[in-house]
């Protein structure tokens, strides 16, 4: 049997880190690409563009957070503890909310950030509003993070 409890838990870690990481990379890439265009026109806007570009990057961190909690819970750093298959499955299931919501919300947030970048190309003073619009999408990643964290923490 390959899928021991430990393997399942590590798959959970992997999913929590991989999927939101991919999503964040895509989101940041999208916004960054648009940002490069704006900065070509006006290098002074680099600071504002950077902020908007970074916003979809948080999901990757949320994923790492959940992954790290599982790592400490199963004591990866000091010889892994024994896990039953059911326990391993619980960790895997617990990582799913942030894995999927993180992936998709980061991509979608990247789109809003991209729109925000084009917004500040024309109205640099409105960077605050662009930030808030983008942060709205992140709400759902935060909720998924909470769910994942609480489940994983209390297993």
């Amino acid at each position: 049997m390959i899928f021991t409890g430990q393997v399942l838990a590590v798959i959970g870690i992997a999913l929590a880190v991989i999927l939101p990481g991919i999503g964040s990379a895509m989101g940041v890439r999208n916004a960054g690409e648009a940002g490069a265009g704006v900065v070509t026109e006006d290098p002074d806007k680099f600071g504002q563009v950077l902020i908007l570009e970074l916003l979809p990057g948080t999901q990757g961190i949320y994923g790492l957070l959940v992954g790290f909690i599982i790592m400490t819970k199963i004591n990866v750093f000091g010889g892994m503890i024994d896990l039953s298959q059911a326990e391993g499955m619980l960790y895997l299931a617990g990582s799913l909310p942030i894995a999927f919501v993180g992936l998709l919300s980061a991509i979608q947030q990247g789109k809003v950030s991209t729109a925000g970048v084009s917004m500040i190309a024309k109205r640099p003073k409105e960077v605050g509003k662009a930030m808030i619009l983008s942060a709205m999408v992140e709400t759902y990643a935060v909720l998924a993070l909470l769910a994942s964290f609480l489940v994983v923490y209390f297993i």
Binding site: T58, L65, A135, V142, L145
Partner: protein, 642 residues
Amino acid sequence: MAIIDMSKVDLLGLAKDKERILQAFQDTGYLEIVDMELPEGMEDEEWFSSLSFQAGNETIERLEREISEVEFALRFLDERVQADQEKKLLVSAEDLDAVWADKEEILSIAQTCRDFDAEENEIDSRRHRLRNEVNKYMPWLGLNLSLEDLEDTANVIVRAGSVPKNMAAEFIAAVEPYEMAILKELGEEKEDAYFFVAFHKSLRQEAREAAKKFDFTQANFGDDKGTPEEIIAGLEKKIEGLFTQKNLLQHRAEELAGKRAGLMMLLDVMHMRLQREKAANQSVASAKTFALKGWVKNSDRQTLEDIIKGTTEFYKLTYSAPEDDEPFPVYTENKLPVTPFEMVTNLYSVPASNGIDPNNVVAPFHAMFLGLMMGDVGYGILLALGGFFFRKKATGGAKKLGGVIMYGGIASIIWGVLLGSYFGDVGTRLGIKPLLLNPMEDPVTMLGLSLGLGFIHIMVGMGVKAYMLIKEKKYLDAVFDIGFWYLLLVGLPLIALFPWGKYLALVGAGGLLLTAGREKKNIFGKLMGGLGSLYGITGYLSDILSYSRLFALLLSSAVVAMVFNQIAAMMGTSIIGYVFAAIIFVIGHTFNLFIGGLGAFVHGSRLIYVEFFSKFYMGGGHAFDPLHKVTKYISLENEEAK
């Protein structure tokens, strides 16, 4: 917590003084000039046609054109010449006058930059063309014949051309049997193989067929003379010459760099002039007089009059209070700990002139939320110090941002002590105990605390709404719309603790059911209004749940810090390991501080805008923007002293 009262200003003056008066207004920055609105019916007066409106349009257009020329010149020089990292030029008012007097000369420098740019483009495109020519001749290098000799003789036909590479071998094989034909392969490049071929005219028919079969494309050398090698050498020489030309140009551009200061000063002078012209353009002028309208803070009325007196004695100045519903420019005045947070509010929307200034309630919550989401003593100290120095250096809106960061940092230190976080779990590793609780060990309590803070925040927001209603003497509205909600929202959680909590909640709910639809006409509408309002409880629920982000962001920055500490700790086993550990520690925490700080600011602001402001805030005001000096490159000597 105050929106400053404004007075409307009507000023009538002599046309010849206009320039000086506007200059004085711009130097002092007390007056916002707005569009002149003429009373109704004035169009019918016979003297109306002698008035001029927007007389400055031409001047403005010209200035804008010149500004864009100077901006181009500065960009041009920036791209070619390494400039020192700029500090603002310190200049006196006389310097600026001198610069303005030299305007034509400085503009001619800008024109020179334009010319250089055009010349450079021309050189580049010529070089490009020559390079293409070279590429065209490269495959023919093996041809040791002058091109003009590639002519048919009486009996021999001579051709140069190419066939697709994949047919080359077959082509050679096909020509080989003919004794009366010579074929020489000159080389291959990309898709094609290049050949020189000569054959007796009797083979013309066969040659035509072969050319068709193997897709032979005859080369076209036009009028070029000499061997391909000679031609290429000639072209290279020309390209070389262009290089020299371009270097020369670059050299001349570098010599122009000394004139940068003049361009920079002129740009600022023209910008200031443009602002004055635009302000002046909003006034109305007759042949000898002008009239303008504007707004001034009530407290500055005397100062403004003194300023005008200082320039001329012929004027008529009238102040009047805004009409009841007339919106006026909004300027909020707050004392120090609150002032920076005006930036947070204004990022959302400037308060309406008939609304209230929310900054006093925004300030403590924003700092508290930002501090909680960072929630770390080490980060707090760095933020507070960073904000402090940023505040010292920056001006305007950036200065306020510095203040927001500084107070957020201080709040973060406090939260860090309460939650026992020092650069993540460094404190825990050293055995420092949290004063309140460790969110990593007791996450549910921490989540509850976050939601509790959210509950208080929303209550305060509703409280401000009640305050506004009471100020407008709508006492019943305050009781019905806020009081009953208070009873319901406070009563519900109390049910868990005290049996009488449910009576509180029931009274609140009943009150809402009966009063929320009070503006509806019929009884049915009233009842539906009440029910609809009660349904709004889901809104409050989701508002409060939204504060779980406080916990989530606190957790995320704490865990990322822990990750870096863990890696650093695993490295720190030997001397070299300690060095790497230190590097990872510094880089990791800098990264986390930056990302975490950005998140904390954005989400802290969001809680203010969405959950808090929706309860009471009226934005949409127009910020007070008096005519003043905006400079990019220069700072004036007498202002530096201030």
